[in-house]
Symmetry: C2
Subunit: 293 residues, 2 copies
Amino acid sequence: MTVLFDKVCLIGIGLIGSSLSHAMRAGKLAGRIDVYDHDAEARTVTVELGLADQVHDNVAGAVMDADLVILCVPAGAVADLAPEIAKSLKTGAILSDVGSVKQAVVRDLGPHVPDKVHFIPGHPIAGTEYSGPRAGFADLFKGRWCILTPLPGTDPKAIERLQLLWEKMGSQVELMEPGHHDQVLAITSHLPHLIAYTIVGTATGLEETTQREVIKFSASGFRDFTRIAASDPIMWRDVFLNNREAVLEMLGRFTEDLTALQRAIRWGEGEKLQEWFTRTRAIRRSIIDAKQA
Amino acid sequence: MTVLFDKVCLIGIGLIGSSLSHAMRAGKLAGRIDVYDHDAEARTVTVELGLADQVHDNVAGAVMDADLVILCVPAGAVADLAPEIAKSLKTGAILSDVGSVKQAVVRDLGPHVPDKVHFIPGHPIAGTEYSGPRAGFADLFKGRWCILTPLPGTDPKAIERLQLLWEKMGSQVELMEPGHHDQVLAITSHLPHLIAYTIVGTATGLEETTQREVIKFSASGFRDFTRIAASDPIMWRDVFLNNREAVLEMLGRFTEDLTALQRAIRWGEGEKLQEWFTRTRAIRRSIIDAKQA
């Protein structure tokens, strides 16, 4: 394999940051990897697991001379880091991120990006319900999509370089407009997470005997929701706060549909239910055909 | 292994019925297996796969002389079958079922059961998103719970015999009152299915370009819902129609919680969101500890 970037700087070393380190090490894609994290414990784990050539408690120092800087922090942490990062960026560097919301990072980071730095927001559609620097692994991105949302006018060569990095880590890359990304993800990811968090929370509000039975008999459907609802709370808080409009729009549609089904149950409208449940089967078939199952 | 029942009659040969046949054959638990199904195609598949010693298109004939009769049909089909089954039941036979709602079967089948027949409703917490007689396999019940909901006064020896059958097929058996069963399953199974059906349906209502992207990027959470929403439409229609009260009650609680989170998103109440998302993580931990993950 060829080194694609002499110095890569990862800002934040949670599940995604640590997986990036593992994947770039495995593919010998980076000459060196520098890591910044604001959390002392995360920095200690980074050293322990050899995730970085150098670990920094100062973001400007970490960014210095890097050819590629990737933010791997919750959406809410970007605004505070932006000025610090911006002032140390090298001319010609690529600046990217891995966040689940793309308009927010354009809003919070975009205005700080110096000329001659290539700002290319990104979002790997990959994750697990585990978080933190110990949760990462080299294969996380293999067979997954990575969406890049460059703004108009971005140097195509820079996009190609970043795209190649993701491809070398096993991903397929798709380019998308940031606003459209946020809409698509609102229905495929943000709303499912919100609903899973809700129902698991609803279950914790039941009387204690029932709660024990909910856990015991969770294999009947509930279990799948608990896996999703175990995802990182801070990351997800920031997703909802930063993709508010698209999430509320999709939530509105969902609630209308749920109310219609609720009414069908109350009034015993079997045909309506059956028709709806038959239609949803077809979409599962499409997902299997698209090899995403 | 010992034969536990000389003649077993399975009424309905979908995913659960065919899995019962495979499991009883594998464990040599039944002297012979007779199958009734109202659907000619299902009967043909039953012969083709050797799921029965004899296949019947007449339910009374299938039930005749059976030591154990298990209904494996959607909840809505029980009422029509009940008088036919009842008139042919042998003295001392055990009559059970595998439905997801237990008060409804007590209501629809109970009054028809002759004296000296042991009526023991049952519900194996096992399934896949596939349906029909080709979907069954011998290990479906292995490591799964099976809930039995006998009425007060049922012969304990009959319960023990049925319990032993489920244990030999790899299940752990739990006894429960029918109404309590319906409440627990409303939250662990029926509501999750309703919500999954809803959101997958909501996605099919989006414009076509977005729909294609929903399928493409489904790995980000949506996919888990589509698996659930691919379950048998008729079976699930009947579940909702027959466990209406408990489902509507749980749905009411869910909607209240969802509205509270929606409000927190709209007003940017990050702490409320984070607190909720942290609490739901704990329940996942309990499920892993209970070895149900």
